[in-house]
Symmetry: C2
Subunit: 294 residues, 2 copies
Amino acid sequence: VRAPHRHGLALGIGDDCAIYRPRGAAEDLLFTTDMTIEGVHFRRETHPPDAVGWRTLARGLSDIAAMGGEPRFCLLSLALAPWADGRWVDRFYDGLLRLARRYGVALAGGDLAHAERVTCDIVVCGSVPRGRALRRDGARAGDHVYVSGRLGGSALGLETNAGPAWRKHLRPEPRIALGRFVREKLGATACMDLSDGFSLDLHRLCLASGVAAELTSPIPAFRGATLDQTLDGGEDYELLFTVRPRTGVPRSFQGLPLARIGAIRRGRAGRVTLDGRPLPARGYDHFRSAPSAL
Amino acid sequence: VRAPHRHGLALGIGDDCAIYRPRGAAEDLLFTTDMTIEGVHFRRETHPPDAVGWRTLARGLSDIAAMGGEPRFCLLSLALAPWADGRWVDRFYDGLLRLARRYGVALAGGDLAHAERVTCDIVVCGSVPRGRALRRDGARAGDHVYVSGRLGGSALGLETNAGPAWRKHLRPEPRIALGRFVREKLGATACMDLSDGFSLDLHRLCLASGVAAELTSPIPAFRGATLDQTLDGGEDYELLFTVRPRTGVPRSFQGLPLARIGAIRRGRAGRVTLDGRPLPARGYDHFRSAPSAL
């Protein structure tokens, strides 16, 4: 981690979280913010309100996990649409607070407003020992590339609205314990969470690290997921990480499979191949139409 | 400030900011989040985009000022409506970043999405020496009540869309330096910012402190503002604070008038009188229809 600036920021835009270093503290603070919008991130007709609340917080927790942090507290801004009655809101909070309790996260405050469509913005603050946050930009040639779990389940579930894939979509489990294990025990060189799709997210990790990646199939797929869903589907919230080649990585962590899927190479930054053929970065890019200021 | 909990929160929901106490740090961190929604907090037809950006950040900075803090960084979540083209977005950022530069606030990250209506959520983090944050709940019987500036200008400007009141509405100046002065030099017993209207906000301060307040007219009014606008208009972003009765408070601070408007009394918590008659709390209450979880 670079020396913090005057305002105490050790890392700004471009990673899963911003990093703030309080003066004199033993810990760095991680901050992430994510919007959840009716009609974009969930559908009123299909998504139960408690799942909307769960997913709202899970997105932020996953960013904390990606940096090897422990979540501390969250702030929730919630704009309610006219159709969202008290029962919907209560169930939304039930889902969010259930996940918050599981990880010891306090709801510290927020804002409440009214809007045409339900719009939530969650801020999660986490902590990590000073200078130890996992980042995207540390992968080096020769590192091995690993991914947790099985990919494509969330995209499959969104299509079928049934079965284990739908349950995975509705209640993703942020990989907090795995992130800590990857940081403390594996000394990972880079890590990020898979939120916008595997192919796009790996491309970003390689870009940030200035390296290429060579993958070998199979990429672990959720049962029933198509190849497109596996490679490009979003919101799996698994972890993607790189380790030095001699690092012993177990086949699973607390029952969650960890698969070695390739290696980091010198080459054009961001270039990813699968079995020797270029793998296009096709996930969902929120920033495709981003303003220049971002 | 009470002892922090396990998760490090010294203060949660109910004040202008949440307070987080990093382990071992000399500073407490303040967090506040505020939504700005098209059609609710601004009108596309009348509000220039740079003013929308400025106001989005100003709301958060004002909460930091209210606790006597120094702003450090912010996170911006921005959901863009189809009508908001690149030029609008660039000008929005111009306004936000101009205010950010003025107060040394870094834009540390955020999220970007698309929605039916432009929806912004700003998180501002500030810092204050450990245990020194100004709060709402410290006013005691006998304290004098002060307010900065002249009230009702923002409400007047929103009605007229012209003149000094409109300029005040479009580009409110967060009272950061005053907040620090009130904390360091005046040793204020309580402080908050006026965002939802004077009568409602003073009622809340009295409720939080378990006291009543007796006011004497005149309440300083913005030139041209009606009595309703002065007493109940929102978004003035002036500071309301209480001090021990022997505290010497100057008539102005850096050109901004500071007016003594009354005193704190024992009595029913939250009760406010003006010239002996009850002053109804009539500002804008975002939480009137709040869910039970808040």
